[in-house]
């Protein structure tokens, strides 16, 4: 065997050994093994090149890597109940099931398109919980100003300041936050019901009673009803 041929055999052997028996890479290991055996058994590099083309071994390896990678991601996010974060992986796996890729660039293009679209969805999905938790202290201040046991003579001033604060919240949501969100997701609508989903609820580490009370306060603070636009 020529030295160059041997060097390529060593390279493909290392690639195969990296994934052989790895629980996350069953498809990759199979494809890499096929590639390694093809070059190791080929009489020359030129002959290997023909086998590579004829059997589409490079594309098989690329598809297998994507399949293993996104299977691991889908399992990971599903296990964590991060259903939206799992979306890109599940869609990519669906494409692999329903389309036969014969071109690595087309495969990469599909992955890149799906990932970009889902990045926007994730950001839309996670925006409200961050806004909610970020506003929590203001909601608490409003509640305190309304219900704390203070002398009667201060109550009117507190009600006035609360009304001003809520008007500021509604204005900021209507004129700044919502338009900013719609630059990335033109169909964005805040849905406070979604905050109860496990992926969001876990980010607010207080009892349910306080959580539900703050949801009502937050809708009022943003000036939205249950599915308001």
């Amino acid at each position: 065997m020529e030295q160059q041929h041997q060097e390529y055999v060593d390279y493909y052997r290392v690639r195969y050994e990296k994934v052989a028996n790895h629980p996350k890479y069953p498809f990759t290991a199979h494809a890499e093994r096929e590639l390694y055996e093809a070059i190791a058994g080929a009489p020359s590099l030129e002959a290997f090149g023909e086998i590579l083309q004829a059997r589409g071994l490079n594309v098989k390896c690329a598809v297998a890597r994507i399949r293993d990678n996104y299977t691991a991601r889908a399992r990971f996010y599903t296990e964590l109940e991060e259903t939206v974060r799992a979306g890109a992986a599940l869609e990519i796996l669906h494409h692999l099931e329903t389309t036969e890729y014969t071109d690595v660039m087309a495969l990469q293009s599909m992955v890149s398109d799906v990932e970009t679209r889902w990045m926007n969805r994730i950001s839309s999905d996670e925006h409200l919980i961050e806004e909610f938790w970020g506003d929590w202290k203001v909601l608490e201040d409003i509640e305190c100003a309304e219900y704390a046991p203070v002398p009667e003579r201060w109550k009117e001033k507190r009600r006035r300041l609360n009304a001003q604060e809520i008007a500021r919240g509604i204005e900021a949501w209507r004129t700044r936050t919502l338009p900013e969100m719609r630059k990335f997701d033109p169909a964005y609508v805040p849905d406070h019901d979604l905050l109860r989903a496990p992926r969001h609820r876990r980010k607010v580490p207080v009892y349910d009673g306080a959580f539900e009370r703050r949801i009502l306060g937050h809708k009022n603070y943003l000036g939205v009803t249950s599915h308001a636009r």
Binding site: A72, L80, S109, N120, C144, V150, W154, G209
Partner: protein, 378 residues
């Protein structure tokens, strides 16, 4: 008015560099045309929009980054492919690969890929130097695989252990509790994966996902920790302000007499604090118990308090904290502090002893030191 140059330069320069790169190689064809079209659209948006967020949102929505990058990759692959009947040349493959890495290196070093990616520059430089060292292309490829450098261009999370240790040391120096926990677990994870990997390099996919799991697992308690501190700090401030509002210095203190306020406004602010802080304090104390199931005495022995106290992140002096403890039972709606407490806070302010002498100093490198509570509270 176009988007500000400083933003568009940082965002578009890496793409302009790649465009120049294909031009300098004399590459042409549909892929280069597609690159030009995507870049042209980015440039036009930068000129026609006046707001950076809108600009960035449009680039994302139209998927211009990925369209450009796909076309660039296709152009490079096409340039490296042998012509029909021509034997593949390892030299040209090596050259194409190294030029792509050099392009990445330039983008990383210039900050074009963000500050975070600057850390990756030494690893990419090492890879380029390896390729330029005179070894053959297949040997280069094998070494890249063996050293775990194969994912640098694909954007997978390739983390050097040194980088993790650096982050851990940084968070320790700043006494950032949850950052320390997170980075400690990341180092342990790295070592476990490296020990189990056939070539001693952690699998990048496993490392990426398990690192994300660590952050995910810690997130609720991290938020709870921060929320607790913020709220007991408010409780302390309410008591401090209430007591001080009765002191002779109150009408001159900026807490009640901000710049431009009249004497009348200052006196109204003082009356507000004197009369409302007890009700506010009791309401927030009840909220604290509702959220975290902790009572007032328990706050002082809680790990969040000890952590902040040890790391100079509580600005009140011990003397003032003791006053706060003595003020607590008196701070009831309709109540007022005793003349003795008022006199003590006045004397403490005259001596400027209300803030800790270590306030603003870097946190000490010492074990946790709990605040010494009076025996009546133990």
């Amino acid at each position: 008015m176009p988007v500000e140059l400083m933003y568009t330069e940082a965002m578009l320069n890496p793409f302009r560099d790649m465009m120049r790169d294909v031009g300098s190689r004399g590459l042409t064809g549909p892929d280069v045309d597609a690159m030009g079209a995507a870049l042209g659209e980015m440039e036009a948006l930068a000129q026609s929009l006046d707001d950076f967020t809108t600009f960035s949102g449009q680039l994302t929505q139209r998927q211009l980054f990925s369209k450009f990058s796909d076309a660039y990759s296709r152009a490079l692959v096409a340039a490296a492919a042998p012509r029909p009947g021509e034997k593949p040349s390892d030299d040209s493959l090596m050259e194409t690969t190294l030029r792509a890495y050099e392009q990445v290196l330039q983008t990383y070093e210039s900050g074009g890929a963000g500050e975070g990616m600057k850390k990756m520059a030494p690893a990419v430089r090492e890879l380029v130097e390896l390729g330029r060292s005179g070894i053959s292309f297949p040997v280069f490829l094998r070494l890249v695989e063996e050293r775990g450098m194969a994912d640098l261009l694909s954007g997978a999370k390739t983390v050097a252990r040194e980088g993790l240790l650096e982050s851990l040391a940084f968070s320790r120096a700043g006494w950032a509790h949850y950052d320390i926990l997170q980075h400690q677990r990341e180092v342990e994870l790295y070592d476990q994966l490296a020990a189990a990997a056939p070539l001693g390099v952690p699998d990048p996919l496993t490392l990426t996902l398990e690192t994300e799991r660590i952050a995910w697992e810690l997130e609720p308690s991290r938020r709870r920790w921060d929320a607790m501190i913020r709220r007991w700090e408010t409780l302390l401030d309410l008591l401090v302000d209430w007591l001080d509002a009765f002191a002779a210095f109150a009408p001159y203190d900026p807490r009640w007499n901000p710049p431009g306020a009249s004497r009348e406004q200052a006196m109204e602010n003082i009356a507000d604090t004197q009369e409302c802080n007890p009700g506010d304090f009791r309401f927030r104390e009840a909220l604290f118990k509702e959220y975290f199931s902790l009572t007032w005495p328990e706050i002082w022995q809680h790990e969040t308090f000890t952590w902040q106290y040890t790391s100079n992140q509580i600005s009140h002096s011990d003397e003032r904290l003791m006053l706060v403890l003595e003020t607590y039972p008196l701070c009831q709606p309709g109540g007022r502090p005793s003349p003795a407490l008022i006199a003590r806070t006045e004397q403490m302010h005259a001596r400027k002893a209300h803030f800790r002498s270590t306030n603003g100093l870097p946190p000490p490198d010492s074990p946790l030191t709990p605040f010494m509570l009076p025996p009546s509270m133990l």
